[in-house]
Point group: C2
Chain length 336, copies 2
């Protein structure tokens, strides 16, 4: 296999076996493209990377105050959690506090991302339920907003429900895309998901972190504090978003979305970034994202060291032998 383009290589022995193409955009708080890989105009869906934006109405409209959300609880509303016991307990507690139950969740069930938690369910012969869905915290936030606003909770996932219309205004605002031009589809959990060019996603995260740093008490500030302060509640053990926020002591805010998209923001530099592995392969996101951050000078040596297993993951076989590795080979280029 020849070596070309903006890729993460999958090597077996000394040879290239597969490759993942990567695009990325890096944008400053003024909306300027300050770096890119591949095609920064590539349009794809935000998927779960939209969760920090989808959570903003909870703070802005007084929902978190009315229901006395802790930072862990706000963080899990922004999470693709692994359904470890603490995640499940947090969601169930929040559901109870807002006067709802698991049956009100309109996401479908799937096995926990956390392997031990998935195996525990299977061992006990218990099928996974809606609370195990990685998006159950986001759904609980939507239910909380509906409760607080006095609107019907049933059907909250539909594009025309007040909570989705409210979120749509927020997505429109931060991505600077007129609401009627937002391209939508149905997400893995059943709610609305939004398409954006990578530079639009990166711009939204740059503006978000800029607002958060300007005013830590603002909705953006509260969401950023919850996510970067409680990264375990945004993902879980072994999860890339969690690792990135932990390794940088919360300086970097990171949120993964299905089909290999990731949005990030650096609190110091006030830059936003969006990275997409063209083919949707999760395994290439760590190598791609961390290399973008390294090349942009957004990680120090200790942080790169701490993230080494995500940056250059080994390929192992069923015998546990290391037989290859994944590695980014692209060059980050300057602005447009």
């Amino acid at each position: 296999m020849s070596e070309q383009g903006a890729v993460v290589e999958v090597r077996r022995g000394g040879s290239l076996e597969s490759r993942h193409r990567v695009s990325a955009a890096l944008v400053d708080a003024q909306g300027r493209l300050v770096g890119h890989v591949g095609d920064p105009e590539l349009v794809t869906f935000l998927r779960s990377a939209a969760k920090p934006l989808q959570a903003l109405p909870l703070v802005a409209d007084g929902v978190t105050e009315a229901f006395d959300f802790s930072d862990e609880e706000l963080a899990i509303c922004c999470a693709s959690h692994s359904a470890e016991p603490k995640h499940v307990e947090t969601v169930l507690r929040l559901l109870e506090r807002i006067g709802c139950g698991e049956d009100d969740l309109e996401c479908g069930p799937h096995l926990p991302f956390h392997p031990e938690s998935a195996e525990a369910l299977l061992r006990e012969g218990r099928p996974p339920t809606r609370v195990h869905n990685n998006c159950s915290g986001k759904h609980t936030g939507m239910l909380a907003w509906a409760r607080h606003s006095g609107v019907e909770t049933a059907g909250y996932r539909g594009a025309d429900h007040p909570v989705q219309l409210r979120i749509r205004r927020e997505i429109s605002r931060w991505t600077e895309t007129p609401s009627e031009r937002l391209q939508i589809a149905v997400d893995g959990c059943g709610v609305v998901t939004y398409a954006q060019p990578l530079c639009g996603m990166a711009g939204a995260f740059a503006r978000l972190i800029d607002a958060a740093e300007d005013d830590p008490a603002s909705p953006a500030g509260r969401v950023a504090r919850a996510m970067t302060g409680k990264p375990y509640y945004v993902g879980g053990a072994g999860r890339l978003s969690t690792h990135l926020m932990q390794a940088t002591g919360g300086r970097i805010l990171a949120k993964y979305g299905a089909e290999a998209v990731m949005c990030l923001a650096d609190r110091e530099r006030r830059w936003g970034a969006a990275v997409k592995v063209e083919d949707g392969a999760k395994r290439a996101v760590g190598p791609a994202v961390i290399d973008v951050l390294v090349q942009a000078g957004l990680l120090n040596d200790d942080e790169v060291q701490a993230l080494d297993e995500d940056h250059v993951p080994p390929v192992t076989n069923t015998r546990g032998e290391i037989v290859g590795e994944l590695r980014a080979t692209f060059r980050l280029r300057g602005g447009a």
Copy 2:
């Protein structure tokens, strides 16, 4: 996301979310390239697509005769089986007949590909063992060859063991690559795997099927009969290789390999084919392979109909809703 190149698209709603790049080579029995997609010279590893070639010494050297292999048993030596109960029983029976046990297998354990079989193990709190490895049949064949040849069985997976040297001669012969130029690495199950350009893989399968049709009693003929006659033992329920052989009544021989490579042969036209999804994504192999076969005129309407779920798989969400689809958009081009 813009639409370009030789790809399988992943669509969510009406929009492109991800894409998989595809290369393929179609070669006739005289070794001529008669069709291609992307780069037919792309070099990657054969992985489990090598299994039909790796099984040839079993027939050629009298091992199948000495141990009285049934077609099911020879098929499972060419298999990436799903570890359904029948697969596991077949491997254990064969191991016993050659005077070996599960401990002699040098592949590592992994959960069965068959979801119900995997869940059954987990429910019973039994960790998977070596016999559940999808390659345990191939490994049993290698042990049988060692037993029959009177050489040490331990270490049979090593590149310098007589059984691997014997297989290497076979790979060299059918791919027409001098043995010393064969690029190797360690496979997922611990044995040697071989790199080849796609046109080399396709040529090997064209020559194999040509030899099989010329002489059904030859090693090639026996392996082709076992695989196409007992396709369930080559994969299992829901597996693409099995579906392709079943849907065509055994006219097409098909073998999947990890990292999204597939080798095929058509018994009537005596053509070989090799398809690689550049990024290694299994989900794109069905759409890519079936579209190559359709465009080459190698499937009739009934067969295409029977393979529809593999050809244009739906994207579903956790609620069980269909929210998108995968679809090949490339054009098969002529010879070189």
